[in-house]
Symmetry: D2
Subunit: 328 residues, 4 copies
């Protein structure tokens, strides 16, 4: 028996975790990509809960950084960054529900070297930015193109990193806002959290009819914090199973794996991201186990696990988790 | 000679500061109010540079808090808060320009008591919020309705505060985002900065054709920081003169008064708002006076003035200013 | 009648605001200066409440930057910076009391140009620092020596700034800690707040027997935030009147002027400094006027005034104030 | 061959990692405990590099919370918290060196239940505090006493947590400051980082002759962030091997395990702690491997690992690490 059978998705999903119809969104199907998470566009696909969808995504630069050019930012056109595939309309989804998205697989797509990272002026965790606005001179820009396959990330002659793909940006539409796909927030978005990987299920709060699922920005690998601001970006083919949890009522994204239950907060300063994630988790543990909030707060003091997603986006993202075995 | 004659608006405006046609937007003209700053709606009015526009604004609660009710948040429907009048399309405005908005007058509008303030759960500078997400119990909610006229704010039997009105929320539309009118950012928005008052000119960066000027959320008076999150909110009649500065190129709002030149930054944590405002000002002083950035940085160390707008909104707002007499 | 007669110092001081014995601490009397605020040294002077003390202070660089040298940090020996005169032992002072220090006058001392400012590597509000630790290259260092007298600060050929002197660093000793004189905190220290000027009274919480009053770091003028980290530093002669408020019980420094009552918070991020200052003020207004905390919180939302002291020290300092006329 | 043979301690230590004389500091030997990290006391022990020292530590409450009392803070006497054993004077240690401390073992000491956690007013990661100073009512205080042995932490009838002990507070003395043992900083101190565990070596920068090694505050287990502010505190017997790295020159604590090399930053806001840790690591990786800082910055973007130590102390602590296998 797989752990999926005991997941929230299987227990509470409209489709009870059963795989439904299969769909595909290619780059050509998508046609026009989106640079905001919002309700002001038409869905590219409409599905029933249970649908299995294969989605082709661009890399965060829409493939415009093809070589190790000296000034990558000259090839980019802000704010048209981080193109998103979607939105996918999920039938029956209403405000207060959650979309359950099981990530089945993520494969690199396109010619080698398929991976791109770079240093961009005024962007990154260890440089002055538009927000941390300083007078220091910038670092020089720089691009690295990297060969990636499902066996590894061929970083240099001496270093091969593991292939640990995940979805950098995924979420639903806000109710009335349309927010840059560079930003993470309560609806998901650009969380850049390595846990959003094959083998996990993410529960995204629904704000608007149909949920409007967007995704893009797959990474072949990324360290905690996405330090320079650009992970190993790659175009990808993503396979997802989408279900719907009626009235799930989570205010922030929730993520389930075989072993852990996590909530993801996004905010600045970073401690507020941690507070959001941990407060959601405290309340969930209390509700799930029947403990008081004070008891859950103390338990998580002993065994809570924190993952830093990004320290570079307009809001920082942190996941706070508990091992399921302590949920008794 | 009024100082306006030497203002940026008069020197560089398309209309050279001359008053053009007069327009009015009443509550009825507006009809549907807006709760986001974005380009996805039709303008309510189209004007030439120089236009003088009389605008009726709702209070931040759209008039729904009529009495000193015990639970004001039950009368509100998030995210439909802080209704904005507009947008006004300014002919000729293009990305890279600035709208110059001279604030001529702000008058309270409607039946007494016209002013409203309140304590709302999880909102305010001295309470836990959705971002500073804590487990402490909330404070009780509370409403105060206050009589206001152009002579004073009648706070209590013993305290009359001065009538010092300003526009809490004013700005242009982002290029592709539609952002809650509760948030301040590079385009203006909910800065809650008391300097945005009659006698000042605000220069708002244009992101999209026509600029799309929105405004609302007038305050009869407010302390620095808008401490509890709700100033003395009032419906108002605002008179503005709108001009257009081609190619002004400011990245953040700039504000000019008789004596001072200010830039306004909005960010979290608060030091980033101060850094943004001061970096803009350093660069502007250097360009204006021919000093090096290092010289301007040292000069502002001696004579810079800081105003805290809000410490309660999704981003905090700070204005950094210099007295014009030091610009030589 | 001077406003001093109604001050806390006059009403509650052990000496009732009366001037007592006169004392002087010259540079030679002091001999060894202090670079920490702590209890692990012997007082340089012992006084009764009411004492009037004339204190000679060094500038923050102990006079080591005598000329416009290209690399000022080579002349400095960290952590031996910001030398402090004192401590002064105030008889009768015990933990839970406050020292009341009325600032009578501050005069520049020594040969011209008496004022020094500079840009130092990894220090300042608009550069990467040891805490906001980035990879950007530093700005070049730079010194400006400026002539100052009691009529003005002769900044350049075209700009004369007003002489607005204040004490950058003043405070009592912690109970068991000894903290760098570069840091501000609950006991005062390096707040760099321009309000600590002639005509004001500062109430400093006492942590240890005798209070242990230290001071130094006078500035001829400074903008809000002390932007580059170094105001116009000068050696000075300071005249103070020291009194003792038994059981005053303030947790953070309090400052009184003719018109205003202020509390001063120091913390990072900057919003925490504002929260500290305003929470102290809310509670004080409530206690002083008999209003509830909720009422005081709302009143300060309308009329609170915020001053940014520093945005450059190990903790940022903010003063939150109310005009006394609203204390009814 | 153990990995210790290739550690910095073995390769560069004065004693080359060889075990020297054995020493012991019992509670009785210590007599007076310390509540600050500073140079203003006499060492309790003087050792040669290579010494193996067995140290008895108190729990963070000095054993004063013996039962599940309702108001634990009434049993505590701030600032006399987090008692530290030491300091240990290491012969030959000078400013610019590092103490290498190999943690051999940590055992619980004293009668059962040996573990204590509690909720304290105005302290913790999900409550208002003295710095994040809010008006919300506090949570009730609460104590849990927990049985602990080397096989487990017996949390409740249904949950047994693993015994994963570490040293919450360890460090050297600042040069002239004496800083509360509740605070972490560049010299170590109250980092509350679970990696400071048996099987690791921590390299602590030396500021003063002899280094002055202090330690205390052992935890039987702790989650990331030490959420409520109080891990599972226990009195312990700690076995350490102390060596000396001449001229090591690290500005912040460095930690080595079999697989990883980590640097530890402590600051507020939390992003500054992450920036410090990662900047130190970038520079160390660049120096160690001969890569440019830009290359190291990009590599860590792919494979850096972050551990949140505490989100509750006067500064937050974060460790940033790289797997040693990528250091080529």
């Amino acid at each position: 028996m797989s752990w999926f059978e005991t997941s929230i998705m299987n227990r509470k999903g409209v489709a009870k975790g059963a795989e439904g119809a299969r769909h595909k969104i290619t780059i050509e199907d998508q046609g026009t990509f989106h640079y905001v998470y919002g309700p002001y566009v038409d869905p590219v696909l409409e599905v029933e809960p249970g649908a299995v969808v294969t989605v082709e995504t661009h890399d965060a630069f829409e493939g415009k950084i093809k070589e190790e050019v000296p000034n990558p930012s000259e090839h980019l056109n802000f704010p048209f960054l981080n193109p998103q595939t979607g939105p996918i309309f999920v039938k029956g989804a209403e405000k207060g529900d959650a979309l359950a998205v099981k990530i089945i697989s993520i494969k690199p797509r396109g010619p080698q070297p398929v991976g791109t990272t770079c240093l961009l002026t005024e962007f990154g965790g260890l440089v002055a930015t538009g927000d941390t606005a300083l007078l220091n001179p910038p670092l020089p820009e720089k691009v690295k193109k990297i060969r990636v396959d499902e066996n590894g990330v061929y970083w240099s002659d001496t270093v091969t990193l593991p292939y640990e793909p995940f979805i950098g940006t995924i979420g639903t539409a806000p109710q009335i806002e349309a927010i840059s796909s560079l930003q993470p927030d309560y609806y998901g978005g650009n969380m850049d959290l390595p846990d959003v990987a094959p083998g996990s299920i993410i529960y995204l709060p629904v704000q608007t009819e149909g949920g409007f699922l967007y995704l893009g920005d797959c990474h072949a690998i990324q360290g905690d914090g996405e330090l320079c601001g650009v992970a190993l970006e790659m175009p990808a083919t993503v396979e997802l199973q989408v279900d719907l949890i009626k009235g799930h009522g989570n205010s922030w994204p929730q993520l389930e794996t075989e072993d852990r239950m996590m909530f993801i907060g996004s905010a600045r300063p970073m401690e507020d991201a941690a507070r959001i994630a941990y407060r959601e988790l405290v309340r969930w543990v209390a509700a799930e186990t029947g403990q008081s909030e004070a008891e859950a707060y103390m338990l998580l003091t002993m065994c809570g696990k924190v993952r830093l997603g990004n320290m570079v986006d307009p809001k920082y993202s942190i996941g706070a988790a508990i091992e399921k075995k302590y949920l008794t």
